[in-house]
């Protein structure tokens, strides 16, 4: 299972690097990698601008797309398991809306924080995202000490709706920045460079670790909170761990690339169809396939009507929505 997934990941990465306005053959890519990482001398037949394109433009973009896709898919899988809701996705809790508010805020007011420069936007965004997570959790706890799944969903939707309204408000009031805001909201991994990946990475590592440590607990949650408690799961603690892990991943992904929809919803469902619901398999596989999925959709987004680029969020939704409709249809048919 892992072998297949890793193969898919490698092929999609290679495709992502290879295809573009200038096609670069796989062999050249591999030779460039070898030369860069092991100091193997680069053969003369590879032009130096190939190296430039691969290392400075396509590789960072593809790697960022992979991490964003992986984050969203793992977070989605975890949310679906914890909230026992097939329709849950990384955006259910409102963390992404919070992060978006931060980003739109930055664009709207044209703020630039002194030390961070161009990184003002992702940094403000992730701070907003984390603040939203804390707010949602505290509010849920205040409503109900037990923090039942239903309450979490309701509170998340409430915050999400409120933040969406704030965003709409800013859009309505904005003039010139409209295009920029819309473009950000639709999501993109273009022209971000290595620094964005570096920023995402620590959150990615912590988030993924938190979720993988709780794979067995997620399995237990699938049978309901009471059942999880009966077999010895410390439900409240584990719930906060999973929520935190998944929200870190979501917030970080949103802050570097905008709200890319449907990856977190559809990829875990597709993986479930193949490997079953066991989270010990589902989480790592969702990570790999989610990453590969976003690399490929990004490839489509920038090549399909080249030289223009479509927002990646549009492509994921265009592929994701019908796929999801099909899954939903089959599920309902099976029920009746």
């Amino acid at each position: 299972m892992y072998a297949v997934a890793i193969t898919v990941v490698i092929i999609s990465l290679l495709l992502g690097i290879s295809i573009g306005s200038l096609s670069i053959p796989f062999s050249a890519i591999i030779k460039i990698f070898l030369s860069k990482s092991f100091g193997v001398t680069l053969p003369d037949d590879i032009p130096s601008d190939f190296v430039q394109i691969v290392m400075a433009i396509r590789l960072p973009r593809v790697v960022l797309a992979f991490f964003v896709g992986a984050s969203l898919a793992v977070a989605g899988a975890a949310f679906q398991g914890l909230l026992k809701n097939a329709l849950a996705d990384p955006y259910t809790l409102g963390v992404s809306s919070g992060a978006s508010v931060g980003a739109v805020f930055v664009i709207f007011f044209g703020i630039q924080l002194p030390l961070f420069g161009t990184f003002t936007l992702p940094i403000v965004s992730i701070v907003f995202g984390l603040a939203t997570l804390v707010l949602v959790l505290l509010f849920t706890r205040a409503v109900e000490r037990k923090m039942s799944v239903e309450t979490i969903i309701l509170v998340g939707i409430m915050f999400g709706a409120f933040f969406s309204a704030l965003i709409s408000l800013m859009i309505a009031l904005t003039g010139e920045e409209l295009r920029q805001i819309i473009a950000w909201l639709m999501g993109s991994v273009a022209m971000r460079g290595w620094k964005y990946t570096m920023m995402l990475l620590p959150f990615f590592l912590v988030g993924v670790m938190l979720l993988l440590f709780n794979a067995r607990e997620l399995n237990a949650f699938a049978f309901g909170e009471a059942a999880a408690m009966h077999i010895g799961v410390d439900v409240a603690k584990r719930k906060v761990m999973v929520l935190t892990g998944a929200s870190l991943l979501t917030g970080a992904a949103v802050s570097v690339s905008g709200t890319i929809g449907f990856v977190g919803l559809v990829v875990p469902h597709m993986v479930r169809l193949v490997c079953g619901p066991n989270y010990r398999l589902l989480l790592p596989l969702s990570l790999l396939y989610g990453g590969a999925f976003l690399v490929l959709t990004d490839l489509l987004a920038r090549t399909i009507i080249s030289p223009r680029e479509l927002p990646i969020g549009v492509i994921t939704s265009l592929i994701g929505a019908p796929l999801f409709a099909l899954l939903f249809f089959r599920r309902m048919r099976r029920k009746t």
Partner: protein, 494 residues
């Protein structure tokens, strides 16, 4: 040794007091049942024991240690819970589900799956009989099977205490009995303590060592089923009419529920008019328009039974059958009688000589139907002198029909009264036990049935001096005497 001590536990949801000062102890290896109507706090009590709800007041002590001090994981190693409803998670196999039961036994962030874990899971699945379905998805199983999967998961926890909330809820009766028998076995073999909520008071009475009865959050009764199963108590707890009966083979009480509203049985005229009497080639059949409760020693339908058909069949003098009961059932079926509602007797006496006697009292009527032969006349007091048993033709079959409600005591007394009347008739007719040359008291194959409509007036007793007893005594005596004369006449004439 008390595994569990529950002291003065109370619980309230907001302003709603659900449990009030509940106190009890459970000993090791005991099957402890919790009974009570809906909303009596049973499930809340179980949730407190499973640490699903926090204790508000009172204390729960487990093996001398407060429940509070157990972590969720520690508690899961000691106690396993089988709730009434568990969400069925989509797509998990039986094995994956049961494996979750090992959660509490595993430690570390990425624990290794040990041989012991594997063995525990395998044994648990075997115990509930699902070995063939280990790889099946649990959403494909039936409700009963799924409940067994969760039971296996509970067993995989290797608990000392099992908490069950209506464990047999989704099961058919076969599965229920199988599961409960297994629970009893585990309790006794592994000294596993079981605390279970039951809905069915008879199941609870049959399987539990002790019972706790709750009503509106308070303990109404605590004790063995024998002590607790009093109709009055159950009436007040469950607001249902029940009557207590003995279990056929186990020394546990069995409670029968009574309907609040009974269909009035249409009564047209006197007792006799509610029967049709049919004389066929080889039998008399009396058919009632409504079922009667019968106590009888008949070949078919012995003991207490409800019946609509009463058949007295004449068999040839050389009738000889290994399995008379089966043959008789065939006979009844062949003639269109509903076997389950038929009282079937046999005689070698000519059924044409049957005698009916009828008496209409103030509030009741009694009808006796007798066939008599005395070929096997025996003096009960001297019978011990008989060396061998030489069965000849001749038997006295008595059927008594009564219009009224009889208690069980009245049934037994009616049988005594009828028997005494029969004996007196034999004496007056000077029937002799040919072996001992003394007066016979009956024959060796006599048969009796007392049938009552169970409508109208209630008769607590039917002894010889009660109005009912008097009527039975007289009719049976007269009928038997007349039947004996007819029998003698027929013998003399042939």
């Amino acid at each position: 040794m008390h595994v569990l001590e529950v002291n003065n536990v109370s619980y309230r949801y907001q302003r709603n007091q659900v449990l009030h000062d509940v106190t009890f102890t459970v000993t090791e290896g005991e099957i402890f049942g919790i009974l009570g109507p809906n909303g009596s706090g049973k499930t809340t009590l179980l949730k407190l024991l499973s640490k699903e709800l926090p204790l508000q007041s009172g204390s729960i002590v487990v093996n001398g240690r407060p429940l509070r001090s157990f972590s969720q994981k520690e508690w899961a190693r000691f106690a396993a819970v089988l709730p009434q409803i568990t969400d069925a998670a989509f797509g998990y196999t039986v094995k994956e589900t049961v494996e979750l039961g090992r959660y509490a036994h595993q430690n570390g962030l990425f624990p290794t799956w040990t041989e012991e874990d594997e063995q525990a899971v395998k044994t648990a699945i075997e115990e509930v009989g699902l070995t063939e379905k280990v790889e099946e998805g649990i959403d494909r199983l039936s409700g009963g099977e799924r409940q067994r999967v969760y039971l296996a998961r509970a067993l995989a926890q290797q608990p000392r205490l099992l908490l069950l909330d209506e464990p047999t809820n989704h099961m058919d009766i076969t599965q229920q009995i199988k599961l409960l028998d297994q629970l009893v076995r585990w309790a006794k073999e592994k000294a596993l303590t079981i605390v279970a909520i039951f809905h069915d008071i008879n199941i609870a009475s049959l399987y539990c060592d002790r019972l706790l009865m709750l009503k509106r959050g308070e303990v109404v009764a605590l004790g063995t089923p024998e002590e607790l199963m009093e109709p009055e108590r159950l009436n007040s707890v469950f607001q249902a009419q029940v009557s207590r009966q003995a279990h056929p083979t186990v020394s546990k009480p069995l409670m029968a529920f009574l309907r609040k509203w009974e269909f009035p049985i249409l009564q047209h005229g006197g007792l006799r008019e509610r029967f049709t009497w049919t004389t066929m080639k080889d039998c008399i059949a009396i058919t009632a328009s409504a079922p009667l409760k019968v106590l009888s020693s008949a070949l078919i339908g012995s003991g207490f039974q409800w019946a609509t058909h009463f058949v007295n069949r004449q068999v040839p003098k050389d009738y000889d059958c290994e399995d008379a009961e089966t043959e008789m059932k065939h006979y009844l079926r062949r003639h269109g009688f509903p076997v389950q509602q038929t009282i079937g007797m046999m005689t070698a006496v000519s059924i044409e000589d049957a005698v009916c006697m009828y008496e209409n009292g103030d509030a009741f009527s009694v009808w006796a139907v007798v066939t008599a032969g005395v070929g096997n006349a025996v003096d009960a007091a001297q019978a011990w002198k008989r060396a061998h048993f030489d069965q000849k033709i001749g038997t006295i079959n008595i059927m008594v029909f009564i219009d009224g409600i009889l208690t069980e005591a009245a049934y037994v007394q009616a049988i005594m009264t009828a028997t005494e009347a029969k004996t007196k008739a034999l004496y007056d007719e000077k029937i002799i036990d040919s072996e001992t040359n003394t007066y016979a008291t009956g024959t060796s194959t006599d048969c009796i049935a007392v049938a009552a409509t169970q409508t109208g007036v209630t008769f607590p007793y039917a002894g010889t001096i009660t109005p009912l007893g008097k009527a039975i005594g007289r009719t049976v005596y007269e009928a038997t005497k007349k039947a004996l004369r007819r029998y003698q006449q027929r013998r003399e004439s042939s």
